[in-house]
Every structure is written in C-alpha cells, then in structure tokens.
Symmetry: C2
Subunit: 310 residues, 2 copies
C-alpha cells in the first residue's frame, strides 16, 4: 500500500483516538447513507499519507470487514479499534445551501456511549498523539495511559466547552497544541477577536493554538510565531463533513514524519493538513482522500503556496 | 507633507470618485459623532501614501475647512470636491458586539442625493481610476468623462446589485478590476462558492476580481493568477467602517505608484492595501491612517508577509 502513503518512508507512528462512525448526510450536491465517518477515520486516513496511524476507537457489530479494510488498507493499525455488541455511532445531518449551516437530524451514540479508550500496551509510548474531539474526561484517560510522548494535540468543540469545561481546562494544561474553530476559540476564551482569544488560550496551557476557520483557512499561534494558511478555493464542494478532522490528521501526520517542531515544521504541517482537507470536502465520506496520488497532493500544495507568494 | 506619503516620490496621480461624508458610529469600544468618513475620504488618504490622489465628491456647507484640510494636508488634490448648498451626507450606525453585524440608524444623503460627478478637465486623462461604491449610473458617467485610462477599478455593494443591476453590468464591461465582498460576489454571480462566483464575474468583463473577506483577508482572481492575502490579526478593533475603502485606496495607490500590472505588482498592491486597512479599524473615522510613519507601515507589512512564509 505504499502508493497510498506517498510522503512516508520511515512510517513514524502516531496515535489517534476518536470516533469511528456511520454518517448519513444530505448536502445541496447529493446524499450519502451510512457512510464511513468519524473523527478518527478522517484523521487516520489523512495521517496515513505521512505516518503510521494507530487508531483507538469503538465500533458495533454492524461495522463490516469492508469498512475496517478501508482503514487497514491505508496502512492504519486498527488493533486499537474495539468491536462492541450493538450498533456503531450514527450521525445524520443535512447541510444548508451555503454548506456552512447544518441541522443534526439524528445522533445515535450507540456503542460510542460507553467508549472508554484502552490504549493497547504497544501503543502507549507513541511519540505523537492526536486526541480527537471526544469527552475531555476520555482525553485525560488517554493521557494517563501514555508515556514519554513528544507532542500531543487535541481537538474539541462547543459541546464540551458547554458541558465539560473543567475537564477540558485540565486537558489543556497537558497538551502541546489545541485545534479549535474560531467561534469556539472566542467562546472558550470569552473574547471577541481571534487574536485576543488565541493569546488567552495560550496562557491556559498549550504551546500552540491552531484556529480553524473553515473555507478561510487556519492560523497557528505560538511563542514568537504566527502562521497563516489559506484554504484552497474550491468550486466543487460536495460535503464539508470531516474537513477539520482531516486537517488535524494531515497536520499531525506530517509533524510526526518530519519531527520538526520549529517554525518550518509547523508551517509544513499546516499546509499539508490544509491540502488533505481540501480533498475531503470534494466527496462524501472519506471518498475524497482514500485514493490520492502523491502527484495530486503535491500539485495542490504547490497551488496553495503559489497563492501567497508575493 | 512628504512624511505622510512615505512610499511616494514620483507621485503618480490617481482619480478617486466616491462619497465624502460624516459618520456617527457606535461600536462596543466607543463612539464617534459627525466624524469624517465616506469611501473617497478613506480611499484618498490610503492612496496618498503611494500616489497623488485626485478626489471627486460632494460636500455640504457644514463641511468645514478643518475637514477639508484633513484631506489636502495629506497631499490629496481636493479641487474636484464640490461644495453644495445643504448638508453633507451623514450615516449613523451601530455595530454589534462581534464587530461584523451592524444596524443603520440613519442615512441622510443630503447633498449626495444630487451628486452628478463632474470630472475637472485636468483630471480627465488620469491613468489610474478608482470608482468608489456609488450608483453605477454615476460610475458610467465618470467613465464617459475620462480618456486614455490605463487601469480602472470599481467597488460596489448589495444595494446596487439589487436596485441597479443592469447599469452595474454595463460598468463591469468597461473596467479592469472589481472590488466586491464575498457575499455580494456570490449574490451577483448567483453562485454558492467564492471560486465559482469569481469565475463567473470574470466572464462579465473585468480582467480581475478582488473578493474582500473582511477579517479573513482578500483574494484576487485573474487570468492565470490567484493571489491570497490574509488580514492582519488585530486584538484592538475599534471601528471597521472604511476598511474596504482603505484597502481599495491602498491597493490602487500602490498599483499606480509601481505601474506594474503583472503578478508581482498586483501582489504588492494587495499586501499594502491590507496593511493600510488594518490601521483603519484600530480607530474611529480616518484617525487610524492620517498619521502613519513609513516605519509603522513597513513593519506591519513585514509581519503580514511573515505569516505566510512557509
């Protein structure tokens, strides 16, 4: 499967904990039913282009072999995906015509409701860790089970800011990088500008904050570094679901590949994450990122970098 | 006044037609009453850092000498500003806490209602022209009065898209560059993505379209060129009024200074326009851009470019 992980020779391992789900989605450009989704699926596949993802999640007995193969065929180590009695997490939603607003029609947590991530013994010393957007208490549990990590990133969302703020603040103290979207950054920091919010979030623990701004790109804030990456301008948006997870997975995959935590490494991670995310939104489910060639990815990154060459 | 036009030695002339107004504004960070505003004021002062603006507009007899001096002290040729009997255009508005949404509390067109721009004989061969956001019929009239222009840009807004679409489409056929914000671009093109909208707008006449995205920056689309510039990330936003006009004025000022209509010249214009606009939002009225030093402007451009150096 080397052709599916074009950037990756050394195959540095990266631990990714999150949801593996079925999504049923309607957008102005079509629909998908019970298609593979979840933060760990998107992040895992994106990271697999750069590194060797070890995914920890939970699925039900309706999660068939061909679903699992979509992940394992991509070089993802799926031994950490628990198979439980019951149904797989299912989310059903409908996007508005602007592709931004969406209505959740159904959220069936199913087996995910009892998810209590157990990190396999052989995963516990993985140097790079991505804590997907799950209950901060579970993120803390993962941190308690890992040792000697080099760089830990987390993703979160408004639901946890509203319902589990204290645990979330505890996680923030123990991680290196926070992925968060702009509205949520301002909500969590109680500030009205992204810059002021990021400054405040940095004082809460993480060394870096990456503010995701959807179709506008992303900004990384850190000590003596502010980096901006625009999103690719796509005229063929099909389904934005998973773009943020893909971005985080691509970012962390590239970071673990290069091992460079300085400005250049972070900038590189930002751009590759953005490129991967641009493919995700062009198709339903993970279809946009399962069959990418090294050339397709490199071409798009070239276009991205060219846009900001002054 | 050379210290107020730091980049400018040759002082290439640029013709700017638009509103000169008084604004009364409330934002979460304060208020200003009857302060100098209007698209031509912002654009003129911004352009004056790079070129010699010739402003055409109209004011009432309440427009005092000290107001006019704010413009003329900046090297702006104000002979084209007509003084009419009556009051100056007055806009009163209040911004919401997010600094994006705003309510118009009062719009008194006053003398602006009868504005029929007469381009002074000595302005008619100005090579660079910026048609501010006014009635497209007046923009056409300006075009009819000019000769041998090298590069004409226009700004517009939803009001004209809704009420004067045909005239607006006529202007589009006769200009080189359209400034428009993202929502209005999608509205005018009847498309749901910025990329698709820009593609369609380019087929309507202009060689270039610059989509303004507020705090997210701007994108220039043209033949074989797509350029992206992020906005500066400011934690001290006071009043966003005039940011778009400042951006357009800075852009066109720098373009007329360099005379370079290729990729490098356009990129340079984008960045300087963005830098000037960032100063505008840090104060009420034109206060943020009247006293800039070359060093302050250059420092901020350096920070801007550094954000996208990968």
């Amino acid at each position: 499967m080397t052709e599916k992980r074009p950037m990756n020779d050394a195959a540095q391992p990266i631990l990714i904990v999150g949801s593996v789900a079925f999504d049923s989605i309607e957008t102005p450009n079509g629909r998908a039913d019970m298609a593979l989704g979840g933060s760990a699926s998107y992040a895992g596949i994106a990271a697999s282009y750069f590194a060797k993802p070890r995914v920890v999640g939970i699925v039900g007995d309706d999660f068939e072999d061909h679903h699992m193969r979509k992940l394992s065929d991509h070089g993802i180590d799926v031994r950490g995906i628990e198979r439980a009695k019951g149904k797989t997490f299912h989310w059903k939603g409908r996007y508005h015509e602007n592709f931004k607003d969406r209505d959740t029609l159904e959220t069936s947590l199913n087996v995910f409701q009892h998810f209590d991530p157990t990190i396999p013994e052989e995963y516990r010393r993985t140097p790079y860790v991505l804590l997907g957007n799950i209950d901060p208490k579970l993120q803390l549990s993962v941190l308690d089970q890992t040792q000697g990590t080099r760089f830990v990133a987390m993703d979160t969302m408004n639901f946890w800011i509203n319902t589990a703020r204290d645990a979330l603040l505890d996680v923030l103290k123990r991680i290196d990088l926070l992925f968060i979207n702009d509205e949520e950054a301002m909500q969590l920091a109680d500030e009205w500008s992204v810059a002021a919010a990021a400054e405040k979030l940095l004082r809460m623990g993480p060394k870096f904050v990456v503010v995701k701004r959807g179709e506008y790109g992303a900004v990384l804030f850190g000590p003596r570094v502010t980096l901006f990456v625009p999103a690719l301008l796509l005229s063929n948006v099909v389904d934005p679901t998973g773009a943020g997870d893909t971005f985080a997975g691509g970012f962390m995959g590239e970071l673990s590949r290069s091992g460079d935590l300085d400005r250049a490494g972070l900038a590189s991670a930002l751009t590759w994450g953005t490129v991967l995310a641009s493919f995700t939104v062009e198709a339903f489910s993970v279809d946009g990122i399962v069959d990418l060639t090294p050339e397709a990815i490199a071409d798009r990154r070239k276009a991205l970098v060219e846009m900001v060459r002054y």
